[in-house]
């Protein structure tokens, strides 16, 4: 299993690489050719998007999704995949799935910590100030979209790479799904 991580500048991308390597994946640079492309989540929307464009990852990810090839977005990586975000005074997204990232208005923000995700049946680690509004949600955490799927794109708001055993199990299932796709 060859997995490419889209680098786009600053932040903790290494933890995602380490988590996938522990599960037996080989981390490669080729975003277009890899079995799975991962769009990790660090930094702010505008900086991240500029970094992605600079490296040509935006087109590569759109082509992958158009061809039905798997892409995993994590945290900001999920939000970048939407049509747009209210972050940084409004930024355009990659348009891999319909929806928009909006500022969280309830509780303390950033929303930091472990929270239960249903129907996944486990707690995962979240660290975000914006949340997704999308018709493609497949799991929720305290009213927040925790997972969304559209075609070959899968996005999670939580950080599986930082969610201990539950996170490892989740990533292992993602890799298994890439290996043996189940018909939708």
């Amino acid at each position: 299993m060859r997995v490419a991580i889209c680098h786009y500048g600053a932040g903790n991308v290494r933890s995602v690489e380490l988590a996938l390597s522990r599960l037996g994946a080989t981390v490669v640079d080729d975003v277009e050719g890899a079995d799975l492309a991962v769009l990790p989540g660090v930094g702010s929307a505008r900086t991240a998007l500029a970094g992605l464009k600079e490296r040509g990852h935006d087109d590569a990810l759109r082509e992958r999704c158009a061809a039905g090839r798997p892409v995993l977005g994590i945290c900001l990586g999920l939000q970048l995949a939407l049509d747009g975000s209210d972050e940084d005074g409004g930024t355009e997204g990659l348009g891999l799935l319909e929806g928009r990232a909006v500022r969280i208005t309830e509780g303390r923000v950033p929303r930091l910590g472990w929270a239960a995700v249903e129907p996944l049946g486990a707690a995962f680690y979240f660290a975000h100030s914006y949340a997704c509004e999308t018709p493609h949600a497949t799991a929720w955490s305290e009213g927040v979209v925790a997972e969304a799927r559209a075609g070959s794109f899968l996005g999670v708001q939580f950080h599986p790479e930082k969610s201990g055993a539950a996170g490892s199990r989740y990533l292992a299932e993602v890799l298994e799904e890439v290996r043996c796709p189940t018909p939708a």
Binding site: N12, L112, W114, H159, E161, S163, G164
Partner: protein, 247 residues
């Protein structure tokens, strides 16, 4: 709201975990990565590694430590001590840390918080505040400042800090309970999560502070016996605190 968090804190000097009482009399209590792993297995929600010496030579050692921690652990961790620039913070996050804590450097130049938030996102920027009788002290508690803890917390958040690590120097290491008055005043003044630090002695102390703060930092209560974290979680449940099921 997410689960209340229990965060073991590891004070690191020259690559070893140390602990003192009221910021003084440091003694060696173990290897940071090994202790971190023990805590992670016992159900720690996050970890904090603070470089208490924070000299120039230590900085690369600390990046190396962050790399080792990321290789062994799969829970979030914060690193602090000696972070003076966005580049310092970036190298720690690139090594695998999730958040950086800044203290004296932000007091000296508050714009640093905004620079960090713009580069890394607020969720990765923790302002560490050491307070004695309500007043902020800098340089690991050794120097007085003109600032009040509540005002500084509010300003730090306005400038981009996404979390506050609030240590009561009065309570630190005493195991006589957290400084509830200070924690409450700061938590009421900001809308970001607050990590309370200093004074944990019993599960009741932790339960009391988790009524006010979103996370409790644990240091001396664990250092004699790292397995205490597991029993503490059980005692907190009995006291009605809904902690994460770490299975």
């Amino acid at each position: 709201m997410p689960y209340p968090r229990l965060i073991p804190c590891l004070d690191v000097a020259a690559g070893r975990v140390v602990k003192g009482v009221r910021f003084r009399g440091l003694r060696d209590v173990g290897d940071p990565v090994e202790l971190g792993e023990t805590y992670s297995e016992a159900g720690a929600d996050e970890l904090v590694f603070l470089d208490v010496t924070a000299t120039l030579e230590d900085r690369s050692t600390f990046v190396a430590l962050a790399r080792r921690v990321a290789e062994r652990l799969q829970i979030p961790f914060t690193v602090g001590g000696g972070v003076r620039t966005a580049a310092d913070a970036e190298s720690l996050l690139e090594a695998g840390a999730d958040k950086v804590a800044v203290n004296s450097a932000a007091l000296a130049r508050p714009e640093l918080l905004t620079e960090l938030a713009e580069r890394l996102g607020s969720q990765a920027v923790v302002v560490a505040i050491d307070a004695e009788r309500g007043a902020v002290r800098s340089h690991a508690g050794t120097l007085p400042t003109e600032r009040g803890a509540v005002d500084w917390a509010a300003e730090a958040v306005a400038r981009g800090a996404g979390e506050i690590l609030l240590t009561s120097i009065d309570a630190d290491g005493t195991r006589a309970g957290y400084d509830l008055e200070l924690t409450s005043a700061v938590a009421n003044a900001v809308d970001v999560p607050v990590i309370a630090s200093g004074g944990a002695g019993t599960a009741r102390h932790v339960a009391d502070v988790l009524d006010i703060a979103q996370a409790a930092l644990l240091a001396s209560i664990l250092h004699e016996d790292a397995a205490r974290l597991g029993s503490l979680r059980g005692e907190l449940r009995e006291l009605g605190v809904v902690v994460r099921d770490a299975a």
